[in-house]
């Protein structure tokens, strides 16, 4: 079983964000692996262990994204593809999918895993677009996988607490719902093994694609508040007495 996991480096949840001239200051961001992608990687590693498979990490992003690859290899992935690209933020999901597809189309992966969505731009499309470009079956919001020989059963999360088991023919591209498993930590042995694992690095311009997002980004801004928010500040005791007043006298809890 050959599995490709699409992973991305994004700003951490508590990263400072500053904008000037409609551009986010990338130098000030704290960069981490996109959390939903960790669940995709873990699911791939679990299947690898059951099927004697091979896991390849694929990331598209600047040089700094090699940290995502190192962390993933340390957890147990076998090799990696790094497509170097500095301006993914102006690209459409379709453009990004075309770049990745061009690079991986001859690898004959049985499975392509992606995270639910990225915590920066959040289009939630990449793995599903690739399924169409490569003519794979697909499913999103996958909450469980079962593989027997070449049969893939997946449990999909639907809305409002509903689920559905479905059978997919391989090859398939799955976007994995967060919470499907408990992502592992890297072991010391794993960390030591990273330097011996192959990383295939290529600049995206070498893939010779002509791309056009089909839209322009006119503005990036801090969203305007729709509500008046009262800030409750002070020492802990101060905050407690203000909250008590609000709960008892304004909201009138019993």
């Amino acid at each position: 079983m050959k599995i490709c996991v699409l992973m991305k480096q994004v700003a951490s949840e508590d990263s400072p964000l500053s904008i000037s001239n409609n551009i986010i200051d990338k130098a000030s961001l704290n960069l981490v692996t996109n959390e939903p992608d960790s669940y995709a990687l873990e699911e791939a590693l679990l299947i690898k262990e059951k099927t004697n498979g091979e896991v390849t990490i694929c990331t598209l992003g600047p040089e700094s994204s090699q940290q995502v690859i190192k962390d993933g290899l340390a957890k147990g992935a076998d090799k990696a593809i790094h497509i170097i690209c500095d301006n993914t933020e102006t690209m459409s999901s379709l453009d990004i999918a075309k770049i990745i597809t061009k690079k991986i189309q001859n690898e004959n992966f049985d499975l392509i895993f992606s995270g639910l969505q990225s915590n920066d731009y959040g289009f939630a499309q990449l793995g599903i677009i690739i399924s169409e470009l490569l003519d794979y079956s697909n499913a999103c919001l996958v909450m469980g996988t079962e593989i027997n020989e070449n049969k893939l059963k997946i449990k999909k999360e639907l809305e409002n607490g509903w689920f559905q088991w479905s059978e997919l023919k391989l090859p398939a591209s799955l976007s994995i719902q967060s919470g499907i498993n408990q992502p592992r930590y890297a072991t010391l042995k794993g960390i030591m093994s990273v330097k011996n694992k192959p990383v295939d690095k290529i600049d995206f311009s070498e893939l010779g694609l002509s791309l056009n997002a089909g839209y322009t980004i006119d503005e990036i801004s801090i969203p305007q508040k729709s509500k008046q928010t009262q800030m409750i500040e002070g020492e802990v005791d101060d905050i407690v007495s203000q909250l008590t007043d609000i709960l008892k006298n304004k909201i009138k809890v019993s």
């Binding site: 700003a11 949840e13 508590d14 964000l17 986010i24 999901s93 379709l94 999918a97 915590n119 920066d120 731009y121 959040g122 289009f123 939630a124 499309q125 599903i128 399924s131 169409e132 079956s137 697909n138 499913a139 999103c140 919001l141 999909k156 639907l158 809305e159 607490g161 509903w162 689920f163 088991w165 059978e167 997919l168 023919k169 976007s175 967060s178 919470g179 997002a213 089909g214 839209y215 980004i217 006119d218 990036i220 801004s221 801090i222 969203p223 508040k225 509500k227 008046q228 928010t229 800030m231 802990v236 905050i239 407690v240 909250l243 609000i246 709960l247 304004k250 909201i251 809890v253 019993s254």
Partner: protein
């Protein structure tokens, strides 16, 4: 300009976000005279749309389209596109949309701008969408001849639908070319004996900021004191600290209590969708940039582990 709105249905009901998307399309039509067409695959629900103002309602002859299947839907839309060539396809940003509309984007080779919250027309279509977990927003202008967009739930109010006349056009799709690689099983609900939070008067809701499972009683004690139900954000359920039936948000329950007391919830969009209708929102978080503060009535930037036990004692 021609706009095509997809009307999704589940369990034989129209998805509310589809009607909101229709409002968005009608709004554009008012400013530029665009034709607005809708597509519904569940033919049992055609009557429910018959008094909305539409230039046409496309309905299929094919029974197999009543139930969702990504590859059949894709081929049907491919044929709709060949015949109607809409400039703009509009979908609700639902789980179903996430499952197949990216394929449509690839098949038609047109961009899909997902999870939008607003749309305007001046000389071109512009949309707004949240980025960076809703801490920032981006405004995009569509430059391609054709594009797909999807709207987050709650972006428009279905009460604003323009009523009028609508003619339905029955279409027969040839789906014989679809190679069936996906066998969709029965839908089922897991913890059906769960908690109904939708009628709760007060909710104390727990987010990842509570730190660890051992701290959950801090929230439970407060909830007991004020007769509130316990709710939670997704990460807390994923970590196994609280049961799935407590989850509030797009994959959990939608609530509108008198008080929503958010403890350590940052306010990812998927969570906000489930609770932004609450009458009063109190939020405590260490992160002063937490998006939950954008919709809170009262905001406390501080350590809930220090504040909440004292508050509970004080009440």
């Amino acid at each position: 300009m021609k706009i095509l709105v997809y009307i999704e249905s589940t369990n034989n009901k129209i998805h509310p976000v589809s009607l909101e998307s229709l409002v968005a399309a009608q709004k554009i039509s008012e400013s530029n005279g665009a034709e607005v067409h809708a597509v519904i695959f569940n033919t049992n629900l055609i009557d429910a749309l018959s008094n909305y103002k539409l230039d046409g309602l496309i309905t299929p002859d094919n029974e197999e389209l009543i139930y969702y299947h990504p590859l059949l839907y894709l081929e049907a839309f491919n044929q709709i596109n060949l015949k109607y060539k809409p400039n703009l396809f509009i979908f609700g940003h639902t789980y179903e949309t996430r499952d197949w509309v990216p394929r449509l984007s690839a098949k038609l080779d047109i961009p899909f701008i997902s999870d939008c919250v607003d749309i305007k027309y001046s000389d071109k279509i512009t949309v707004n969408r949240p980025i960076y977990q809703a801490k920032l927003a981006q405004k995009l202008s569509i430059t391609s001849e054709q594009a797909i967009i999807s709207f987050q739930a709650g972006s428009f109010s279905a009460d604003d639908i323009n009523r009028g006349v609508c003619n339905s056009n029955s279409e027969s799709f040839d789906l014989s070319s679809v190679v069936d690689t996906i066998n969709m099983g029965e839908r089922f609900q897991e913890s059906s004996g769960g908690v109904d939070l939708s009628s709760a008067e007060f909710i104390v809701s727990v987010g990842r900021g509570i730190g660890k499972e051992e701290n959950i009683p801090i929230a439970e004690n407060l909830a007991d004191k004020i007769n509130a139900q316990i709710g939670s954000s997704r990460p807390v359920v994923d970590a196994g600290w609280l049961d799935h039936s407590r989850q509030i948000g797009s994959s959990g329950q939608v609530v509108s209590p008198k008080l929503y007391f958010a403890l350590g919830i940052s306010g990812a969009i998927q969570h906000l969708v489930g609770m932004k209708g609450s009458k009063q929102i109190i939020a405590i978080s260490k992160d002063k940039n937490a998006p939950i503060f954008e919709i809170a009535d009262y905001a406390v930037v501080g350590d809930l582990l220090e504040i909440i036990p004292k508050l509970t004692d004080n009440l």
